[in-house]
């Protein structure tokens, strides 16, 4: 069981991800925008952070920058979920400090598989 933060402004997608991951027995926190996400990251230690790219207030990229500037959060694992699926977008995201990237629309099962792999240190 891992502690995971999901930052996603679309309620429906939140429901999808949360339902799926809770079924796998993970503890999920939800944030609706970038600001909320940063707040929650400050206060909690997450095993994995799932960030939507297009979010109000702070975009996923901005959140990553904030997080990477926090002294104790340099190595927290971050996965970016984005509708911007082109290779350049992926590279930009990874360059900004994200560890993983997943393009929308994603399969919830695939997402679970990747998260399990990451949590077990198998994914690259």
């Amino acid at each position: 069981m891992a502690k995971i933060l999901l930052a996603e402004d679309e309620e429906v997608l939140r429901m999808l991800v949360v339902d799926t991951l809770e079924d796998e027995g993970h503890d999920i926190d939800e944030a609706c925008d970038g600001e909320e996400a940063i707040e929650m990251i400050k206060q909690n230690d997450y095993d994995l952070i799932l960030l939507d790219y297009m979010m109000p207030i702070y975009t996923g990229l901005e959140v990553i920058q904030h997080v990477r500037n926090m002294p104790d959060k340099k190595h927290v694992k971050i996965m970016m979920l984005s509708a911007k699926s082109q290779q350049v977008d992926k590279e930009r995201v990874l360059a900004a400090g994200a560890d993983y990237f997943m393009a929308k629309p994603y399969s919830p099962l695939e997402l679970v598989e990747r998260i399990e792999a990451i949590l077990h240190g198998e994914d690259a």
Partner: protein
């Protein structure tokens, strides 16, 4: 001998040589004779002198011997010394010898006599006296000795000595005489010499005389004759003398005579020539006079030309119309010596210039320019001169009658129209015909000048027009010659090059003009390279170059086109386009794609995700239902999004069609509110209807979309609920609808962009509000298509009000009957004759939609009856009617035969392709089935408009059809 004479006669030189030779011979002979004489004189003198001197020597020897003998004897006698006696005997011998010698030398009688006497004395003395004396002495007979001396001895000695002396004197005398003779003879010789010299001189003179006579005189004669000839005196041929001579003079004289003859011959010829020449000279003088006259004329012409030139020069230097006219008047007045004058152009403005005239005079002239005298100019197109008495106003202080001469000159254009008229007044004297001719010549120049001015003005206008055109073009246009100099530039380009005016760039070099551009560009160097490559390397094909102007926030694109004339490159035209919009549009497009991608993927993710979960997992029924509901909603959302995208796309590209009808806006809004109500539980809806005129002409569905978007926004952006009020009212003759919420409001800075596609206000409170960002853009497009406007006012945290205003339609609901009545008068009435019910209904609907009143009949007879009764504005006629005895053609014919009905336009609607026949029978238009019903209504409208009946027709046409 004769030969010899001839020989000498033929040559003067020979004669001269002969004379000189003779002279020399005489001279030499004379000289030799004289010198020989002289030497003979000396020789004979020498001989005689020698003889005498020899004789004198011997005589002296004799004397000495005797004297010695005397002294010896006396010594002997005195001293008795033998040696004396011996000496004496020696002397005796000496004396004898001397005497012998003397004798041998004796020549004269005196000599002989002296010798005889000396011998006698020697005999006496030596033979007897001395031997006696010696004997006596020796004997001692002194006495005897004495006696001997006294008796004769002494005396004889003395006598002898005397004789001796005499002889010697005689000899001396002879010598002297010989000298004297010599000197006398020499004197004679000298005289002879002098005589000889004189003779020689005489001879010389004689020779000179001969030569003078022979050469000098004839030469002088010839010389004087030559002189005479030289002096042009008449010399007769026979006057030439000495021609008979054979020598040089003769030849000379003959030659001279021949020469004279030939000279005389020649002189005669020359005289003839001379006469001829004199005649020619006369002629030449005549010609010269003529030439002088011609020269004078030329000079006069030259002066005239100079005036012309000055005049033309002054004309050609001017390009301003008024200046030219002023110059013409001034120069013409000075050429004419006129006191006042005027030129008026026969254009609409009556442009003029005057000289010495008052404004009043000018005005009067211009007022009456088409009356009176001037009319003559227009008719005759020839100048004329008037002499008139000076008017009182012109006279000044003069009292006597004065005359003034007025000249009226037309300036004819090359089409022989009177282009301008010139009027000049001269107090000084009349105008001669020549002057008038000269002025006519000048008017041609004036005409040319005026035409030139006109051309210049046209060119200038054309140039200005071109410049204006260039300036109205939004692109910066720049024509640069091959050296990079700026030639033509428009205003936009000048702005771009940071110059205040276009003039600043006139002829500017590359360095001058390019700096302004390069400085402000972000790609200065590259832009520079681009321009240089094209201008200086003459590169032909180049991709357009894009550069940014950061300060002006502009994106520019420049492209170049080479300009050729006669195959030679003249330069390059650069066009700088402001592609900021396009650039932004491009950026927006990519943003749009990105946004669309995001917006589409989100619902798609849900649909796919939940479907996958449902397919792969065993779920409780509640969850299944929840998921299915979500899937359904997301799918609907996806549909709405796609519809919105398509709508925006269609609207923006102008492809959206609107099905416009008269609609009551209230019913539309009520319907929308009813639909939206179900989506919220926290909002209260109000519809305030403040006017009865709520009918609009519009597309019901699209208008519903407008209010759906506005009301759903009102709900979305007031998440905490509140009132949503729709107010319908009339303002400024327009129907206005407010949609007001009590929600979040919109930040002021966002208001201008709120209707822009994909613009979404970024606000912390909006995080949960979804949307495509297209709703308001769609609203704006639809309202615009209904000739309406949409605006917004908002206050943060208090709410926003969106106002839609639409054009009012005069008719109010509930007045349907009245509207029908109105229709009868206002709307054009169309009768459709068509047996196909289906098609008839289609056409009827179309025509009604277009605002026509429509009636439909199926049969021909019925149709004619109805048409007669109602007299419609137009008839749509089918040809293949079911009724067999009345084809459409018959209906058409009958209608056209009826005077009352013939004017009604008939549009044939048929499946038959018999356009020609239909039009021939009087149909106004022919439609071959199948056709677009809208085409029919357009055609009918067009026909009615063409009949100029539009005043009676009131057709509220939809916008796009009116276009």
């Amino acid at each position: 001998m004769e030969k010899m004479r001839n020989y000498f006669r033929q040559s003067l030189a020979r004669q001269f040589v002969l004379l000189v030779a003779s002279f020399l011979v005489v001279f030499i002979v004379g000289a030799i004779a004289l010198s020989m004489y002289q030497s003979s004189l000396v020789a004979s003198f020498e001989q005689k002198k020698n003889e005498i001197e020899t004789k004198m020597k011997y005589a002296q020897e004799v004397e000495r011997a005797f004297n010695q003998a005397f002294s010896d004897v006396r010594g002997y006698l005195a001293f008795n010394r033998k040696e004396f006696k011996l000496s004496f005997f020696r002397e005796q011998e000496n004396a004898q010898t001397a005497l012998d010698l003397l004798e041998s030398a004796a020549t004269t009688k005196e000599d002989t006599q002296f010798i005889v006497k000396a011998r006698q004395f020697a005999q006496y003395y030596f033979g007897r006296l001395v031997p006696e004396a010696i004997d006596a002495f020796e004997s001692g007979n002194i006495q005897k000795v004495l006696s001997l001396s006294e008796n004769g001895g002494t005396a004889s000695i003395q006598q002898f000595q005397l004789q001796m002396k005499t002889y010697k004197n005689n000899l001396n005398d002879q010598l002297d005489g010989t000298f004297r003779q010599l000197s006398n003879e020499q004197q004679t010789a000298q005289t002879a010499f002098i005589v000889f010299v004189f003779f020689m001189l005489f001879l010389l003179i004689m020779i000179a005389r001969i030569m003078t006579k022979k050469i000098g005189t004839p030469l002088r004669a010839l010389a004087s004759m030559a002189e005479k000839i030289a002096k042009d005196e008449r010399v007769h041929n026979d006057d030439v003398v000495h021609t008979a001579r054979e020598d040089e003079i003769g030849k000379l004289a003959q030659a001279f005579r021949k020469m004279l003859a030939s000279i005389q011959d020649k002189e005669e010829t020359l005289m003839a020539h001379n006469e001829e020449l004199l005649a020619q000279q006369d002629e030449l003088e005549l010609q010269q006079t003529e030439l002088e006259q011609a020269l004078e004329a030329m000079q006069a012409r030259e002066r005239e030309l100079k005036r012309y030139n000055d005049f033309i020069q002054s004309l050609s230097n001017l390009l301003d119309r008024q200046d030219v006219l002023q110059s013409i008047v001034f120069h013409m007045a000075s050429i004419m010596e006129a006191d006042r004058g005027m030129i008026v152009l026969m254009n609409d403005e009556k442009t003029y210039a005057s000289f010495g005239l008052s404004p009043y005079g000018v005005e009067q002239f211009l007022t009456y320019v088409y009356n009176g005298l001037y009319q003559r100019l227009f008719e005759q197109k020839k100048p004329f001169v008037l002499k008139r008495e000076v008017a009182a106003s012109e006279k000044g202080y003069h009292e006597e009658t004065m005359y003034v001469h007025d000249i009226f000159l037309p300036v004819l254009s090359n089409t022989d129209d009177v282009q301008a008229i010139l009027v000049f007044s001269r107090f000084g004297g009349p105008f001669s015909d020549e002057e008038v001719q000269e002025y006519v010549g000048l008017t041609r120049q004036i005409s040319i000048s005026l035409q030139k001015i006109e051309l210049y003005e046209q060119t200038e206008q054309a140039r200005e027009t071109v410049q204006h055109i260039l300036n109205t073009v939004q692109e910066g246009i720049h024509f640069v010659d091959r050296d990079g100099n700026s030639v033509i530039v428009n205003k936009q380009m000048a702005d771009l090059l940071q110059k205040e005016t276009i003039a600043e760039l006139e002829g500017a070099s590359y360095e001058q003009w390019a700096r302004g551009l390069v400085e402000q560009s972000d790609a200065g160097e590259k832009l520079c390279d681009y321009l240089r490559a094209i201008i200086f390397n003459g590169d032909e094909e180049h991709e357009p170059f894009v550069y940014h102007l950061p300060q002006k926030r502009k994106v520019m694109q420049v492209y170049a086109k080479p300009l050729y004339r006669h195959g030679e490159r003249q330069g390059t035209v650069f066009v700088h386009r402001d592609i900021t919009k396009q650039f932004e549009v491009d950026q927006m497009k990519s943003e749009f794609v990105s946004t669309v991608s995001h917006e589409l993927r989100t619902p798609l993710s849900s649909v796919l995700g939940f479907t996958e979960l449902m397919l792969t997992k065993e779920l409780k029924p509640e969850r299944q239902k929840k998921y299915l509901t979500t899937i359904y909603q997301e799918a609907k959302r996806l549909t709405a999004l796609i519809n919105d995208f398509l709508d925006v796309q269609r609207m923006e590209s102008g492809k959206q069609t609107y099905d416009k009808k008269y609609e009551d806006i209230v019913s539309i809004i009520e319907h929308v509110v009813d639909t939206q109500k179900v989506n919220t539980t926290v909002h209260t809806f109000h519809i305030q209807k403040e006017t009865d005129k709520t009918i609009v002409l519009g597309d019901r569905d699209k208008l519903a979309q407008v209010f759906t978007n506005l009301i759903s926004n009102a709900i979305k952006y007031s998440p905490d609920g509140g009132n949503v009020t729709v107010r319908i009212y009339e303002q400024n003759n327009r129907l206005c609808i407010d949609v007001k919420d009590e929600g979040l409001g919109i930040p002021e800075e966002a208001l201008p962009n709120i209707f822009t596609k994909f613009y979404r206000v970024d606000n912390s409170d909006r995080r949960r509000i979804g949307g495509t960002g297209l709703g308001l853009a769609i609203v704006k497009e639809i309202v615009k298509a209904h000739e309406g406007e949409v605006s917004v006012t908002s206050e943060l945290k208090k709410g926003s009000t969106f106002t839609v205003s639409l054009p009012l339609v005069a008719l109010a609901p509930g007045e349907e009957d009245e509207r029908d009545n109105d229709d009868k008068q206002a709307h054009a009435h169309v009768i459709i004759v068509e047996d196909d019910e289906h098609l008839a209904a289609l056409l009827e609907a179309e025509l009604k939609d277009s605002g026509f009143r429509v009636k439909h009949v199926k049969e021909g007879k019925e149709a004619i009856a109805l048409i007669e009764k109602e007299k419609p504005d137009a008839v749509v006629l089918d040809i293949m009617l079911e009724e067999h005895n009345a084809f459409g053609w018959d209906v058409l014919k009958q209608l056209k035969e009826n005077d009352e009905l013939a004017h009604i336009p008939i549009i044939i609607s048929s499946a038959l392709e018999e356009r020609e026949k239909g039009l021939a029978l009087g149909a106004n238009s022919y439609f071959v089935k199948p056709y677009q019903p809208s085409q029919l209504s357009k055609t009918i409208l067009q026909l009615l408009l063409n009949k100029e009946r539009q005043g009676e027709i009131f057709i509220p046409l939809p916008q796009e059809e009116a276009k």
